[in-house]
């Protein structure tokens, strides 16, 4: 086993050295501006994340979903006695949450849908939406009432549906080779849904089991 491993490492090193030696001609890389123009986008980062390095993004989404499943399963056997310490409730916080709820949702949707033209994209929008919604709703209602009102399994099925939709969409795009801004907008929106629900689930679980350590 050991000689095999040593041989593998040596082979990899030789391959690396051959690649770095300049014996083989390097492929001419297109200018990022031209690639972005072909995708109908202006944000170069969005074209890389959803175009040239799509596999990275897909596997990142899968890792994210698996981490959330791990959080869920890990916190399930934890039993705590009684409810945690109550969250302080003031009318000021509740009013502020009521006021901020709409703008946060609208801004997250704006960031998601304009992610291919300017700063933004699915991941920042999802983080905004998930953390913002959970924090504001928990401030306004309290975590216990929130978890009684929101049916979390439905949210999770929506998340799995979003992942399947992302895989189907990117598969179709990869097979057909169609490039364009509609694909970027749809992918960004789906990633927003996935990341937002993931952040929601994680923060909700942690907020429910507060005061445990």
């Amino acid at each position: 086993m050991k000689p095999l491993a040593a041989l593998t490492v040596l082979g990899l090193l030789v391959l690396l050295g051959l690649g770095a030696s300049g014996l083989f001609p390097r492929p001419e890389l297109p200018l990022p501006e031209h690639v972005a123009a072909a995708w109908g986008a202006r944000n170069l980062v969005a074209t890389i994340v959803l175009g040239a390095r799509l596999w990275d993004t897909l596997f990142e989404i899968l890792i994210y979903a698996m981490a959330i499943v791990g959080v869920k399963l890990g916190l399930r056997p934890v039993r705590w006695e009684g409810a945690g310490p109550p969250v302080a409730e003031t009318p000021l916080l509740r009013r502020a949450a009521d006021l901020l709820l709409g703008p946060v949702i609208v801004f997250a949707l704006y960031v998601a849908t304009s992610g291919h033209l300017g700063p933004g994209g699915g991941f920042p929008a999802g983080a905004l939406l998930g953390t913002g919604l959970l924090l504001l709703l928990a401030l306004a209602k309290g975590v216990e009432r929130l978890s009684a009102e929101v049916h979390e399994p439905t949210l999770e099925w929506v998340k799995y549906g979003a992942i399947v939709a992302i895989l189907a969409l990117t598969g179709v795009v990869l097979v057909l080779g169609r490039k364009g801004s509609p694909y970027l907008i749809a992918a960004n929106l789906l990633i927003t849904v996935e990341v937002a629900i993931g952040a929601w689930v994680i923060l909700h679980r942690f907020a429910k089991s507060r005061g445990e350590l």
């Binding site: 123009a37 056997p77 990341v195």
Partner: protein
């Protein structure tokens, strides 16, 4: 110059994070140190993308070179994965505390050798 400042800050963050990770005995402090170190790594990558007098990697903002978009794309994924893995690690610490009633690494190791205390 901004690139150099960001590089120095990134290396300082990495040092502080690794120091906390090694020296502190509490598991939660260790995780915090790991997260600070990973922010240092992220800042390092963003600083690598910087070029003198560069504009953001968005076309149509005017002439001149743009910052390298590839590290930005890498960092975008790294931040989200950081969040998810930190949450998972904290869950493991919660379960460990639930079972062993301590987060002290040295005590955990000592109990591992001499047997777990009855609770």
């Amino acid at each position: 110059m901004e690139g150099l400042t960001a590089l120095a800050l990134a290396i300082a963050l990495l040092g502080v994070g690794l120091w906390t990770l090694i020296v502190r005995r509490n598991l939660i402090w260790k995780l915090l140190g790991l997260n600070v170190a990973s922010s240092g790594a992220i800042l390092f990558l963003v600083a690598l993308a910087h070029r003198p007098a560069a504009r953001p990697p968005i076309t149509g903002l005017g002439p001149g070179p743009s910052a390298d978009p590839l590290p930005h794309a890498l960092v975008l994924t790294a931040i989200v994965i950081d969040f998810a893995t930190l949450a998972l690690a904290l869950v493991f610490v919660i379960v460990l505390t639930e079972r062993r009633h301590t987060q002290d690494v040295r005590r955990l190791e000592r109990d591992e050798e001499h047997g777990w205390p009855e609770r």
